[in-house]
C-alpha cells in the first residue's frame, strides 16, 4: 500500500472512531437520563402513596379526637401542625403531577385533579379548625343558622 493511502485510511479510521465514540457517549447519556427520569417518577409515586397513607391516618385520628369528642388544646396544636405539613407536601405533589404525567399515575388511574381535590379538602379542614373568627362570632352564626328552621 502506498504511503499516502495508509495516511488516508488512518484519517478515515480516526473520523470513524470519533463518530462511534460520540454515539456511544450519547447512548450512555440517554440511558442515564432514562434512569434519572425513572428515579424521579418512582420517587413521585412513592411520595404520593405515602402521603395518601398519612392523610388517611390523619383523618382517622381527626375523626376520633376532633369530631367524636371535644378536642383539647394539644389536639388542636397537633391537628394544625399535621395539616400544614400535609398541605405543603400535597401542593408540591399537585405541581409535580401536572408536569410529570407519570405512566405510573395512568396505571393506577390517578389524575392530578384527584390530588388537587384531596388538597382542597385539607384546605377545608384548615378553614374549619384554624381560622381567625372569635367564638362569639361562631356562636352567633350557629345560633342563627340552627334556629332558622324552627
Amino acid at each position: 500500500m502506498p504511503a499516502y493511502a495508509v495516511g488516508v485510511n488512518a484519517v478515515q479510521q480516526t473520523f470513524s472512531d470519533e463518530s462511534i465514540t460520540q454515539e456511544e457517549w450519547a447512548w450512555v447519556n440517554d440511558l442515564i437520563e432514562e434512569v434519572r427520569r425513572e428515579t424521579e417518577r418512582d420517587a413521585f409515586t412513592r411520595q404520593l402513596f405515602q402521603w395518601d397513607l398519612a392523610v388517611k391516618q390523619f383523618r382517622k385520628l381527626e375523626m376520633k379526637r376532633m369530631f367524636q369528642r371535644q378536642p383539647t388544646p394539644t389536639d388542636l396544636h397537633y391537628h394544625g401542625m399535621c395539616l400544614h405539613a400535609l398541605l405543603a407536601i400535597g401542593h408540591a405533589l399537585v405541581i409535580d403531577s401536572r408536569k410529570s404525567q407519570a405512566p405510573e399515575l395512568k396505571y393506577f388511574n390517578i389524575h392530578h385533579e384527584h390530588i388537587e381535590a384531596y388538597v382542597e379538602e385539607l384546605e377545608m379542614s384548615l378553614r374549619e379548625w384554624h381560622h381567625g373568627f372569635t367564638e362569639e362570632r361562631l356562636d352567633e352564626v350557629r345560633n342563627k343558622v340552627l334556629s332558622s328552621a324552627a
Binding site: 404520593l48 395518601d52 367524636q68 382542597e120 373568627f133 361562631l138 350557629r142
Partner: protein, 74 residues
C-alpha cells in the same frame, strides 16, 4: 333544629370526606354547590359557616348513625 340546606351541606361534606379518590373531584364540586346554597340562604360567608358548623357535622353524623370512614385511596 337544622334547616334543609344544612342537612344537604353536611351530607355533601360526608360524601366528599368518605368517597373514593376517583370520585373526589365531583364530590368536591357538589360540596361547593351545597356551600354556595348555604351562603345564599343564611347570609353568612362560606368560611364562617364551615368554622361554625364543624362540630354540628359530628353531631349530625352521630344522629344519622353513619358508618365510620372506609379506607379511601387517592
Amino acid at each position: 333544629m337544622r334547616p334543609d340546606y344544612i342537612h344537604r351541606l353536611h351530607a355533601a361534606k360526608y360524601d366528599l370526606r368518605f368517597c373514593l379518590g376517583a370520585d373526589k373531584p365531583e364530590r368536591l364540586r357538589l360540596y361547593r354547590v351545597a356551600l354556595e346554597t348555604a351562603v345564599h340562604e343564611s347570609g353568612f360567608t362560606g368560611p364562617e359557616l364551615e368554622a361554625a358548623l364543624r362540630r354540628d357535622f359530628g353531631d349530625w353524623m352521630k344522629e344519622h348513625k353513619l358508618p365510620k370512614p372506609p379506607a379511601a385511596g387517592a
